[in-house]
């Protein structure tokens, strides 16, 4: 039905009483997401629109059986919130917060390798599974529709651009995931492609990358060698000047590495269709599916 999220995903919101936490908790609940708990230290015992608030993630898990966490706390507390969730036994953590120092995330990832916790983000719009009516994030849910296309992206608004086109073309989505715009993130393209390849309810994947790092190149290699499902890609930042951080902390060409041209070349060399402009992402997916069908 989806990757990462399930029918029994129960969500705890860390930082539920902050501005973004309140706003998006309401929207998640409205969409149908099972938000079972909130955490704000010092506010245990209160509730937010009927969602009980706890002082710690452990308490929230014990009382409600929460197994997925979404984090809205300020940047300086975000790394600790991820660790708290991991040590409380949460299976999947989605960190929306932007501005977490890279070295903190490197330490967090080292710890998560021991606990086995899955992390999406930070600096991500989250995850949305239309058929499950489950949104662990801040995506505008009205543009999504249930279906069989997976979407993975390093950018928020570009994801919406792509999803909107897919929906209009009648291509619903199985799961859409923003992996985050930071240099050090949890699950990246590679791990999510593996999950989509194994997912019986996904027929094809849209991959939206951008300048910086080399995970598009790693993804290209995996797709070429291991993936049976068609992939359509788009890469942002062809005109970005080197050495400048383009909005996302991770979107920077450094030392001549991580250019859009390199990424497009790697994807095309692996036989993946790359959309020329964001307006062509939907059609590119359609063409890739068509090509697959005609074998």
């Amino acid at each position: 039905m989806a990757i990462l999220l399930r029918e029994d995903s129960k969500i705890v919101v860390q930082g539920i009483t902050g501005g973004a936490g309140r706003f998006h908790t309401s929207l998640m609940v409205e969409f149908g997401t099972k938000v079972v708990a909130g955490v704000t230290p010092g506010k245990g015992g209160q509730d937010f629109e009927g969602v009980p608030i706890f002082d710690s993630v452990v308490q929230a898990c014990d009382a409600t059986g929460a197994n997925v966490s979404i984090i809205f706390v300020p940047a300086r507390f975000a790394a600790e919130s991820i660790l708290e969730a991991a040590d409380a036994g949460i299976e999947l953590v989605v960190c929306i917060t932007e501005g977490v120092p890279a070295i903190d995330m490197a330490k967090v990832k080292s710890h998560l390798a021991r606990t086995g916790t899955l992390l999406i983000g930070p600096n991500t719009p989250g995850i949305l599974a239309p058929a499950l009516r489950c949104k662990v994030g801040i995506m505008p849910d009205m543009i999504f529709s249930p279906g069989r296309i997976g979407v993975i992206s390093r950018s928020g608004t570009l994801t919406y651009e792509a999803v909107d086109q897919l929906t209009r073309l009648g291509l619903g989505q199985s799961t859409c995931i923003g992996i985050g715009g930071d240099p050090v993130i949890g699950l990246a393209f590679l791990e999510l492609l593996e999950l989509f390849e194994a997912d019986p309810d996904t027929d094809g994947v849209v991959l939206i990358g951008e300048i910086g790092g080399n995970q598009e190149e790693v993804a290209a290699r995996y797709i070429k060698e291991h993936m049976s499902k068609p992939v359509a890609a788009f890469i942002a930042g062809k005109t970005a000047p080197p050495g400048k951080r383009m909005g996302h902390a991770g979107a920077i060409i450094s030392g001549g590495k991580g250019t859009a041209a390199d990424k497009v070349a790697a994807l095309e060399a692996a036989g993946i269709k790359v959309a020329l402009t964001p307006s062509d992402i939907g059609d590119t997916m359609l063409a890739a599916l068509e090509e697959k069908r005609n074998g």
Partner: protein, 398 residues
């Protein structure tokens, strides 16, 4: 954030990384005082600007070429004369652009008796989420060049930041560089200190190039660069004081004060977009249709009317030939953005073409609002349509 070389060396010294004796001068009076400080021997005189390529760059003063951006001089008098011919001049390097950068600071540094040169740097390796320490025998050249031509000459160890630096990390790199005995011990201490500096100061890059082994078997950092993770600056109060705003683009500094992600580019078509990825893609699509983007501008996921208005003011001061507004309304509603646009345009007399593409949440209301306003706005169906329209409108205007 970037800092100057002399500031990086100050942090190196604090961290226990040996650097040559250096004197910074920022005024003609300070140059006068150098005579009492400099001893006979070789002095290296270095312009302090953020851009690289200083050695091959040229300085001009009142239209006259006064020499290179970095010069090796013999004796105090020659060093002082070199400093005078740099301070206040304009240095043009491959990285500064044609306008160059004014030299407001000059570093006069003791020459070092070089036996061999090396490269040493720390970065965060994105793929493994570890601190990577890279070392090479090819010091003094651009590491990108080494990576391209002889990648086997770059040696790397990756350190789990939860475990931290261990002596064997430095030792294994040192052995690859051919060090032994006391030099190997020196190198271990130096790498340890670089690691501590990198992690403790939230660096995104800590680079020593070249790291020099002197004829007396001492390791010394001759040139170095420190860049910082902006996300870590909130806990690095002392570093923030090292920021040199004069080295940054004024419009970018102003935009940053309003949490606008703005980067000035060389073209003439202004772009106002919500979201960093979409903003990059908007620049790309303008270029794909034959135009040149004037900027990257992300008004943020929640494009407020105030920020839309501020963005307009900044782009108009950048003297763009036309503006393309490209907003995908998700949580932020298109009609709110449209209202912001109408408000912003009420304040300014827009004499250049404006193409607006609004998609998503409450698009129809937004389009109606723009139509009612009677403002000379060209609306676009999608990104592609918008890019074509703004490029042709700007070309028609020329």
């Amino acid at each position: 954030m970037k800092i100057h070389e002399y500031q990086a060396k100050g942090l190196f010294r604090e961290a226990g990384i040996p650097c040559p004796e250096g004197h910074l001068v920022t005024s003609s009076a300070a140059i006068d005082e150098l005579a009492a400080k400099l001893t006979p021997g070789i002095w290296v005189v270095k312009s302090q600007i953020h851009a690289g390529g200083r050695g091959k760059g040229r300085i001009t003063m009142a239209g006259v070429d006064t020499g290179g951006g970095v010069r090796v001089t013999k004796g105090p008098e020659a060093a002082i004369a070199a400093a005078r011919s740099m301070l206040g001049g304009t240095l043009v390097t491959l990285q500064t652009g044609k306008a160059g950068k004014q030299v407001n600071r000059v570093l006069v540094e003791a020459g070092v008796d070089i036996a061999s040169e090396f490269y040493l740097a720390a970065i965060i390796d994105r793929e493994t989420a570890r601190v990577a320490i890279m070392a090479s025998t090819e010091g003094g050249t651009e590491i990108e060049e080494v990576a391209r031509t002889t990648p086997e000459k770059i040696h790397t160890v990756r350190i789990d930041p939860l475990l931290g630096y261990r002596s064997y990390h430095g030792r294994s790199l040192g052995l690859k560089l051919g060090f032994q005995g006391d030099v190997l011990k020196q190198f271990d201490t130096l790498v340890s200190n670089l690691y501590t500096l990198f992690v403790g100061k939230d660096c995104s890059l800590a680079e020593i190039n070249p790291l020099v082994l002197t004829s007396q078997d001492q390791l010394v950092a001759i040139d170095g660069k420190l860049n910082f993770d902006d996300n870590g600056l909130y806990r690095q109060g002392a570093l923030v004081a090292l920021r040199d705003v004069a080295e940054e683009e004024p419009l970018e500094v102003e935009a940053a004060e309003f949490q606008l992600n703005y980067i000035k580019l060389d073209g003439n078509i202004g772009c106002l977009v919500n979201g960093a990825g979409l903003a990059m893609a908007t620049m790309d699509i303008i270029k794909a249709f034959g135009g040149e983007p004037a900027n990257f501008l992300d008004v943020g996921g929640t494009a407020t009317p105030e920020n839309v208005a501020r963005s307009f003011r900044i782009m108009l001061r950048d003297k763009v030939a036309g503006i393309f507004v490209n907003v995908f309304g998700g949580i932020v509603r298109c009609d709110v953005v449209a209202r912001g646009l109408v408000e912003a345009l009420g304040e300014v007399q827009l004499e250049i073409p404006l193409v607006v593409r609004l998609e998503g949440n409450r698009k129809d209301e937004a389009v109606a609002l723009l139509a009612e306003s009677g403002l000379p706005i060209i609306t676009a169906e999608n990104m592609k349509d918008g890019a074509m329209k703004i490029v042709s409108a700007c070309q028609a205007g020329n």
